[in-house]
């Protein structure tokens, strides 16, 4: 049982990081536009986040250093500051979108006014973060988010053409609209490898007091947690490919995604989809809120960590409270949370190298890592994904502009 609970960090990171509001809509939109043709990109993204999460979890367990320590040291103060500002902006955009997403799901469940639910969402998040210990936050949001598995059942009940699904796992490029295809591919990769996941993951490892004896748990967390996130992405994309593509439905609303579970499974499918989405998006809101506070505290050398209690790390506590308040203000302007997340995903793709280059360098530094330094496999994968990251960092914004955010 303890081992199962030990996997909660990876599951929360995966559910909250991989399957946030943007991913839910992005994966569904990709399926509705290209059917199963982008499944291979999800596999590529899962491989990337597993590679780098394992690396930063190992760095945290061995050297007790979270990612932003490495960023500041490897990139110097000024470049590190640029990385910090970029990371905080993307975090804030994502947090605001997640808060809006929570309110949207609550509205679909309760029918209450959207703005009142934004306020309720922020109050609920504040109470949860303030009161619950880190381990319980992981468990509640990680495991309740598993309700999203209803989409896997829904996908099976929709009887997709499994031959076509299998072809989707083979890397290829759609030639009828290659730029829109490229936009979705870059977006899916950016969403899979979004930096706040590794900030949260590595800081969470320190919160949980990992040491070298936990390296097995680190690998299991990264592989099972993100593997599960990838599986949920497949389920969303296959559901959309089997249901929405043949009918010509262009999913732009969170309710449309839930309809993907309702049509094959009825009311129970709808409720599980909404509850799963609520906890996944709530988990993502907590991930981003903590990540923002971790980054600032680690960069400035403050006391940080949920394990120190709220009063034990006051500046860290004030930072996450301020971030929540800012997120609340942004989403209260009426901006569409789904659109905001799509912007956040594309801009986070641009900022990826700032996060991943220092991780790769630190994981290769024998001074910190001793005998736990990267091996040949980790370095080969790390370098391959670094090329992928650099490519998507360069192409993300041009593709967004040229394709009008995937609208063609």
């Amino acid at each position: 049982m303890k081992r199962i609970f030990g996997l909660a960090l990876g599951i929360l990171a995966a559910i909250g990081g991989f399957v946030d509001i943007g991913d839910i809509v992005f994966n569904t939109a990709a399926g509705a536009t290209f059917g199963y043709g982008l499944l291979w990109v999800v596999v590529l993204g899962v491989g990337g986040i597993i590679t780098y999460s394992e690396m930063c979890g190992r760095v945290a367990a061995v050297s007790k250093r979270p990612v932003f320590d490495a960023v500041r040291e490897r990139m110097g103060l000024s470049t590190g500051l640029v990385a910090l500002i970029a990371a905080q902006l993307v975090n804030l955009m994502t947090l605001a979108a997640e808060v809006g997403g929570i309110a949207l799901v609550l509205q679909l469940l309760s029918g209450l006014p959207y703005r009142a639910l934004i306020m309720l969402a922020v109050i609920a998040l504040t109470v949860v973060i303030w009161v619950l210990p880190f381990s319980w936050i992981e468990r509640v949001f990680g495991y309740c988010g598993l309700c999203l598995l209803v989409f896997a059942v829904g996908a099976l009940k929709l009887h997709p053409d499994w031959g076509e699904v299998a072809k989707g796992f083979v890397p290829h490029v759609n030639t009828t609209s290659p730029l829109v295809y490229g936009y979705f591919a870059v977006g899916l990769l950016g969403a899979a490898m979004t930096p706040y996941e590794v900030y949260f993951y590595s800081s969470g490892a320190i919160e949980e007091g990992w040491s070298p004896k936990d390296l097995g748990l680190n690998k299991a967390n990264a592989m099972i947690g993100y593997g599960l996130g990838g599986f949920l992405s497949f389920a969303l994309m296959i559901t959309a490919g089997a249901l929405f593509l043949p009918l010509g439905i262009n999913p732009e609303l969170l309710g449309t995604v839930a309809l993907g579970a309702e049509v094959p499974l009825g009311q129970i499918g709808l409720i599980l989809a909404l509850v799963g989405t609520l906890f996944a998006v709530g988990g993502a809101a907590i991930d981003t809120c903590f990540s923002g506070a971790y980054n600032l505290a680690q960069f400035l050398g403050w006391e940080w960590g949920k394990y120190r209690t709220n009063a034990g790390a006051p500046r860290f506590t004030i930072t996450w409270l301020v971030l929540l308040a800012l997120g609340f203000c942004i989403v209260m302007t009426g901006i569409d949370p789904v659109m905001l997340t799509e912007y956040a995903v594309i801009f986070s793709a641009v900022a990826l190298p700032f996060t991943y280059i220092p991780i790769l360098l630190t994981a290769n530094d024998r001074t910190y890592m001793g005998r736990y330094v990267n091996g040949r496999v980790a370095n080969t994968l790390g370098l391959f994904y670094m090329l992928v990251i650099l490519f998507i960092a360069v192409t993300a914004i041009p593709l967004m502009v040229i394709t009008h955010m995937g609208q063609g």
Binding site: I85, A86, L89, V90, M93, Q107, L108, L109, S110, G111, L247, G248, I249, N250, E252, L253, G255, T256, A258, L259, E262, V263, G266, Q267, L270, I271, L274, Y343, F347, V350, A351, I397, M400, V401, M405, Q407, G408
Partner: protein, 137 residues
Amino acid sequence: MLLAFAACLGLAGCGGGAKTLDAKALQKQAEEVESLATEGSLLAGDVAEGDTTSVFVRVHGDALGENAQKVLAKLAPDKAKPESGLAQKLDRASALARSVRADLAKLAESPSSQAAASLRGRLEHEAEEAKSLADSL
């Protein structure tokens, strides 16, 4: 990054006054109407079969109706000036969007199973009409 974000939002939001509407742009709006009508028909089918909740139907039906209203606004004479030969098709797209919006509004009012079944038929028909309009462009 902040500047880039602001520029993108600016680009997304700019464009007052009537714009020339070409066949491709009109096709896109017709496809949007088709998408909304089809989704509405799925939802109406679930209402007819008791496979959904009244709250979900009301909230999601309203959201779909708002999207139909946005399409209608894009096709309005003060926003869209059709290229020659497209005026009739623009009128047809507007009429369809109006009709889909009205049916989605009825759907959001938690209709009886029988009324929902009838709405489903209407929305399916509107989706087919929107599809044939989009295909003709």
